[in-house]
């Protein structure tokens, strides 16, 4: 994780597959991620499910499709908080932040490591069973979530050149 924390800004492309009990087919989305020190995260999702998510500190701004921007305070929305906090902390290499919200288990070596995250906050634990981050060296490669209702998602991350 110390490797992760060394970078001031990080650009990445993602590809995410969500498997939801309510839907017959998994939902696939892709787009870009930008993380900037200390706590800025931006996630842009391309059509057919366009979305723009901006997280600054505790404040989340979310615009889905052409709907107006919704502003959410993380503490008021534990289900989303558990997810975006994990993504931000993974990109930031912020083990402290991860340990504030999860009990963290580490396996593997520097070339191929895996963090297992179990939420400690009971509100978050109501929704999220477990999250995991896999990576290699300084880069996270996969972030996955398994929820208590059976929904799950896997996000693959590939480092991208600056300014996507």
């Amino acid at each position: 994780m110390a490797d992760l924390a060394a970078v001031p800004t990080r650009y990445a492309r993602f590809h995410e597959i969500k498997t939801l009990r309510a839907l017959a087919q998994p939902v696939e989305t892709s787009g870009t991620l930008v993380w900037r020190r200390p706590d800025h995260l931006e996630k842009r999702t391309l059509p057919p499910h366009p979305e723009r998510l901006v997280l600054d500190g505790e404040t989340l701004r979310l615009a889905i499709g052409d709907q107006p921007v919704r502003e959410i305070t993380l503490s008021a929305a534990p289900p989303i908080a558990a997810l975006v906090e994990a993504i931000r902390a993974a990109l930031a290499g912020d083990l402290d932040s991860l340990q504030r919200h999860y009990s963290v288990g580490l396996e593997g070596d520097r070339a191929a490591w895996r963090l297992t995250l179990v939420p400690t906050d009971p509100e978050a634990a109501r929704f999220l069973r477990v999250a995991y981050i896999e990576g290699s060296g300084p880069d996270p490669r996969v972030i996955g979530f398994r929820q208590t209702n059976g929904d799950s998602s896997v996000m693959e991350i590939a480092p991208a050149p600056a300014k996507p």
């Binding site: 839907l23 999702t45 979310l62």
Partner: protein, 782 residues
């Protein structure tokens, strides 16, 4: 010790025991509400009561500041937990706890009956189709967990507006899940005590719990700010009690010291206090009998009254000549003393006719205390003193007294300040206090802080209040529902930031029935949903919970107040909808009122609504009592005048007696005005008291004083009385309680002026005598 001295000493001990007994039996009340006026109409009285004692009154507002935001949030969390654990609070809120937990689950379950979004058009096929498409987009987004949790069960979006309504009109932001003021680093909490606002003992124990909880949860340099009516009541009570205790103690010591220095005789000291203790006993007893309690303020004032009624025994002993029998002393000063007492008691008794409860109590206490002390002086003290042979030594009139009295030749000059004062009053009449808040012993800064916390928390204000009445909750809720469009218009126009009404949170049964009727039958809804979802990819069972909840809501009995079971929600409704004496009341609580007048105007024309601008109502009340004060002042003055007319042997002395007193009143009013003091009811109350004391001076100076040593006796005794009065009321002028301070200042200025003017105007011109004459005069005294 001689038998007569033993008798005197035992009379004193007996009087002290009686006074102690009366004090122990008296029900001393320190609740300011007992002392303050009630509203004029039935409804106003009731609502003012609610403001003072109801759920609104048990609200506590807290701010935590002075540390880093993280520390403040941590302090807020620990503080709230400790407050909850103390068991003293009905609820403690420091963050958006409506998310998750029992309250939110309850509201979510009841969404179709309670939410304003339950309308027929929300369940049509096109509306459902649009909802499902939005839901699909949400499921594909980062908000998927929320959409899966709530969206599938509530695709029409009944819950969000309902949760927003119950969250209240707060304008807070959040840091680490804890409420913060919008514009500064200040964590905010709101709590309601289990003890009522008027239950001062309960409030005291809650406030101790607050102090302990904060001390145990403080992070870094965080400090606590407190607001809320309960806190004010406590502060006021503490200030009043503190003042009353300090005052009676300090003035007691001071008067004792002055008397001891003057009398130089412990037995004489005991003699002087005997009638006063008896007078206090009677006053306590009579006040308790008439009012059921004695307010601490009344008692504090009564104790300082000791300084005044102490004049009577002092005047008696001071005028007694060695070896004189009771009848002889009485023959010289009895009549003058009687007129003095009658005049003073008559002046004070006028106050007893006031409809302002505190003043009526003061009037009864003061007048009965004065009369009883005077009677005890004549009937108890006089024989005892004669038997024990207590009297000041005969001393000739000193030279300086002659010279001082010589100044009376120029007494026409004394008219100058009086005329000047009268002219001042004529040109600029003294300003009257209109706001009861100015009379509160709680400092203004505390009031400002309370307003600030209130605005930041979006807690209802206590400046304006409207309410709806009815014979049951349903009637009240229906009447409120009829008002909702007006209230929305007010908010839209900016007259108020938000208006909290029970009917928004708990719709009437009639409205809930209408909502049930808007819900499609289960089969019909399932069919519409299936058609709306064609091609969107939802599984068949995705909306099972939605269908079940709608079906349950259709069949459920409408919710009533008793059905709102979660504590948090019940506590939210309690101040807005409640019953009292078989009537139901719905409070319309606006916050952020920018324009109280238009708020009142908009509601005044609506049926079944009462509006009260509290500040205006209170100042109206005070104003009406102030107007009334002039009436009982006049009544008191008239009866005092009557006492003078009956009692004065020589009516030609009347102008000489009245002039200094009227002059003193005029000078006092003008001086208070010049000091920039707004006249309150309490300054006016002090006038008859001050005039009563002035009457002492005027009558005794105006008395025929056949000999030089008699003049000296009178002068010395009156100066002693004057010193005691200045000492006690001078202390009163230092009080924090505006009532006591007002009385103290008025009396100090008034008696000083009365002393000076009485000496100059009421006293007789000295007989023309040359210094040579005096030297030739025989032994002084006779």
């Amino acid at each position: 010790m001689k038998a007569s001295q033993v008798r005197l000493a035992s009379a004193f001990v007996l009087a002290a025991l009686l006074a102690a007994l009366a004090l122990a039996l008296a029900h001393l009340s320190a609740d300011i509400a007992d002392f303050l006026p009630e509203g004029r109409s039935e409804g106003a009285r009731f609502m003012l009561d609610q403001v003072r004692q109801g759920p609104v009154a048990s609200l506590m507002l807290f701010g935590i500041e002075g540390a880093a935001p993280g520390d403040l949030a941590a302090t807020s969390r620990a503080f709230a937990d400790k407050l909850r654990a103390s068991g003293q609070f009905r609820f403690v809120e420091n963050g958006a706890r409506l998310i998750g937990g029992e309250a939110a689950d309850f509201l979510f379950r009841q969404r179709y009956l309670l939410s304003p979004a339950t309308r027929p058009e929300a369940f049509t096929e096109p509306a459902l189709r649009a909802d499902l498409m939005a839901l699909l987009a949400a499921l594909a987004s980062s908000a998927a967990p929320l959409a899966a949790e709530f969206g599938l069960a509530d695709p029409t979006g009944a819950a969000p507006p309902l949760l927003a309504l119950w969250s209240g009109p707060s304008r807070v932001r959040e840091v680490d899940g804890v409420w913060f003021a919008p514009a500064r680093d200040r964590a905010l909490l709101i709590a309601r005590t289990k003890a009522g606002g008027a239950d001062l003992a309960g409030q005291r124990s809650a406030s101790r719990a607050v102090a302990a909880a904060f001390a145990a949860s403080r992070h870094g340099s965080a400090r606590l700010l407190t607001g809320g009516p309960a806190f004010f009541a406590l502060e006021a009570e503490r200030a009043i009690r503190g003042d009353a205790e300090t005052m009676s103690f300090a003035s007691g010591i001071l008067v004792l010291a002055i008397l001891a220095v003057w009398l130089k005789n412990p037995l004489a000291l005991a003699a002087v206090f005997t009638p006063v203790l008896l007078g206090m006993t009677v006053a306590l007893w009579l006040t308790t009998l008439l009012f059921g309690h004695v307010h601490a303020l009344t008692f504090g004032f009564g104790m300082t009254m000791l300084g005044v009624s102490l004049d009577y025994p002092v005047l008696w002993i001071g005028h007694r000549r060695p070896g004189e029998a009771v009848a002889a002393t009485s023959g010289r000063i009895g009549r003058t003393l009687a007129v003095t007492v009658a005049g003073a008691a008559a002046g004070l008794a006028g106050m007893g006719a006031s409809a302002f409860p505190g003043l009526a109590e003061l009037g009864v206490f003061a007048a009965s205390g004065v009369l009883a002390t005077a009677l005890a002086t004549r009937l108890v003290l006089a024989p005892l003193v004669a038997a024990a042979a207590i009297a000041p030594a005969e001393r000739p009139a000193p030279l300086w007294l002659d010279r001082l009295e010589g100044m009376r030749r120029y007494r026409a000059v004394a008219a100058l300040p009086i005329l000047l004062a009268a002219a001042t009053l004529f040109i600029a009449p003294p300003a009257l206090v209109g706001d009861l808040a100015e009379l509160s012993p709680v400092p203004k800064a505390a009031g400002d802080l309370d307003g600030e916390l209130r605005a930041e928390l979006g807690a209802p204000e206590v400046t304006v209040l409207a309410w709806v009445e009815g014979h049951d909750a349903e009637t009240v809720l229906q009447r409120e529902e009829a008002l909702l469009p007006r209230l929305d218009a007010l908010t839209a126009r900016g007259a108020s930031a938000a208006v909290d009404v029970a009917a928004r949170l708990l719709p009437s049964v009639a409205t809930q029935r209408a909502r049930q009727a808007a819900l499609p039958a289960p089969d019909e809804l399932a069919a519409r949903l299936a058609r709306a979802g064609v091609g969107l990819g939802f599984r068949d069972d995705a909306f099972a919970r939605f269908l079940a909840d709608v079906a349950a809501a259709r069949a459920a009995p409408p919710l009533t107040l008793a059905g709102i079971t979660p504590d948090l929600l019940a506590a939210r409704l309690a101040p807005l909808l409640f019953s009292e004496n078989g009537r139901w009341f719905g409070v319309i609580a606006p916050s952020g009122v920018a324009d109280p007048a238009s708020f009142r105007a908009a509601l005044a024309s609506a049926p079944h609504v009462h509006v009260l601008l509290i500040a205006a109502e209170m100042s109206d009340l005070v104003e009406s009592y102030t107007r009334q004060a002039w009436r009982w002042l006049g009544l008191g003055a008239a009866s005092a005048l009557l006492a003078l007319l009956v009692g004065l042997r020589d009516l030609r002395a009347l102008p000489r007696v009245l002039a200094p007193i009227l002059g003193a009143v005029v000078v006092t009013l003008a001086l208070l005005g010049a000091l920039g003091i707004h006249l309150s009811l309490f300054h006016i109350v002090a006038l008859p008291l001050m005039a009563g004391i002035g009457l002492d001076y005027a009558l005794f100076f105006a008395r025929r004083q056949p000999s030089g040593d008699e003049r000296a006796r009178t002068f010395r005794t009156l100066i002693l009385c004057h010193a005691m009065t200045l000492a006690t009321f001078g202390l009163l002028a230092l009080c924090r309680t505006p009532l006591l301070r007002g009385i103290g200042l008025t009396v100090v200025i008034g008696v000083a002026a009365a002393m000076l003017l009485s000496f100059l105007i009421a006293g007789r011109l000295p007989v023309r005598s040359t210094p040579a004459c005096r030297h030739r005069s025989p032994a002084p005294g006779r």
